[in-house]
Symmetry: C2
Subunit: 260 residues, 2 copies
């Protein structure tokens, strides 16, 4: 008799916290594709980037929140969640790590601020193929129908194809109904970013404080960017790397010999 093939282990995390609707939708998208284990922050951690917790200890507790799904919550950041999961839970490397579904966009430059993407990147550094999913609707009551559908398809495809042990995809889903979505598009990260404006206010004691606000501006004219794809109702898929070396500039600097 043939040995029964072990099901894939799917690690799920996010940065909106374990009670966010987005993670529930991601669990639903993935649960028929393998054994799902959830390790997520016990509170929202948006904009945490690749923050890790060094100066304080972490809490890490099993929680009965999703039917028939092993789940853990931590007091740490999204990256801490992946580190804890890899060190403390699994007897072997998970087959995939998926993060999200984020409430709000993580395309263009946002990839570097995003806790969702940082958690996925942390797994990719650990040689676990990873995907971050984000829906372009930050509201708690956002409609995840299309996001869930595409997440399922993309996870299934990544599990079925050996692509790269450090595979890391940044997937964003436009906030339109599923009928309007034209499919997926492989993209590059757009040079599009927030133009910050801090709003000044005064507290009841007359002391100033500032809220971060801003307008999103796309400086990138190319048509293979994630910003372009999303504007044209495609699901954008950007392959991401964690080697940040600027190789062309490295070559130039080596030639110029400017630094003694």
């Amino acid at each position: 008799m043939a040995k029964k093939k072990e099901q894939p282990i799917i690690l799920i995390t996010n940065d909106d916290g374990i009670t966010a609707p987005g993670i529930k939708n991601l669990i639903e998208a993935a649960k028929t594709l393998g054994k799902v284990v959830v390790v997520a922050p016990d509170k929202a951690q948006s904009g945490m980037g690749h923050a890790i917790t060094i100066d304080s200890p972490l809490r890490f507790d099993k929680i009965d929140l999703f039917e028939n799904i092993e789940a853990w919550q931590t007091s740490g950041t999204p990256v801490d969640c992946v580190k804890l999961a890899v060190d403390k839970i699994f007897h072997r490397k998970p087959d995939i790590c998926i993060s999200g579904i984020n409430h709000g966009a993580n395309h263009s430059i946002n990839v570097i601020y995003s806790g969702t993407m940082s958690a996925a990147m942390e797994a990719s550094i650990e040689s676990i193929p990873s995907i971050g999913f984000s829906l372009l609707d930050y509201r708690l009551e956002a409609d995840f129908t299309a996001a869930k559908h595409y997440a399922h398809q993309i996870i299934k495809t990544v599990l079925a194809n050996k692509l790269d042990k450090h595979l890391l995809l940044n997937v964003n889903i436009p906030a339109v109904s599923i009928e309007k979505i034209k499919g997926t598009m492989i993209c590059k990260q757009a040079y599009a970013k927030y133009k910050e404006e801090f709003e000044e206010r005064k507290d009841p004691h007359g002391k100033k404080y500032y809220w971060l606000t801003g307008k999103f501006v796309n400086f990138d004219k190319a048509k293979d960017t994630d910003a372009w794809a999303l504007k044209n109702n495609y699901v954008s898929i950007v392959p991401i790397q964690f080697d940040l070396t600027n190789y062309p500039l490295k070559k130039i600097l080596e030639k110029k010999k400017l630094f003694k």
Copy 2:
């Protein structure tokens, strides 16, 4: 009479907080090269990665801490400092942003966890040439003599040469006396990272908690990496980019047409 040339504006920040010895040494390294303005966190922010403050407002106050130097402290992260400085302080873009000198290494994969480097990256995104400096000695009483010397040389060189409007350098200085340092080396980011081990403890109430610890392991055999340079007593200089697109993988995925 020729118009007097305006001096370069040098924005200084860090992630160890405005009272850390490292930032004082960086000010000393830079102050003869232009008009220095300091905007730094009011407390240590190590390991904050590219975190930004969205859900709470920021305090932002002028502080008289360094002789004849304009200085501001903020309640935010290193990235918040750069955003606030660009929006609220300057009448024009600073000519350079320098971050550090960090107490502790930021080579290899650490570039993505580092608040020091994220602050520099934020400036680079804003088209301000930027450099992050880190000394391989995390102690408060570390000897910054060599770090200060090389920081001065490198800042001077970057100010004197138009290299790239998004120039971003990750500079690490070995923790040895200046006589032992062999010079600088242009490098790539090593694939070297921490192997995490969370240390489990119990609080006085018997509940478990975890401290992040780990061993640094270099998996990279190449001799042009920052890890190699530092081990061999060179100051490592890695040019960094904020476009995280994995272009070779993008090409492969476009060809394979796996995602519908």
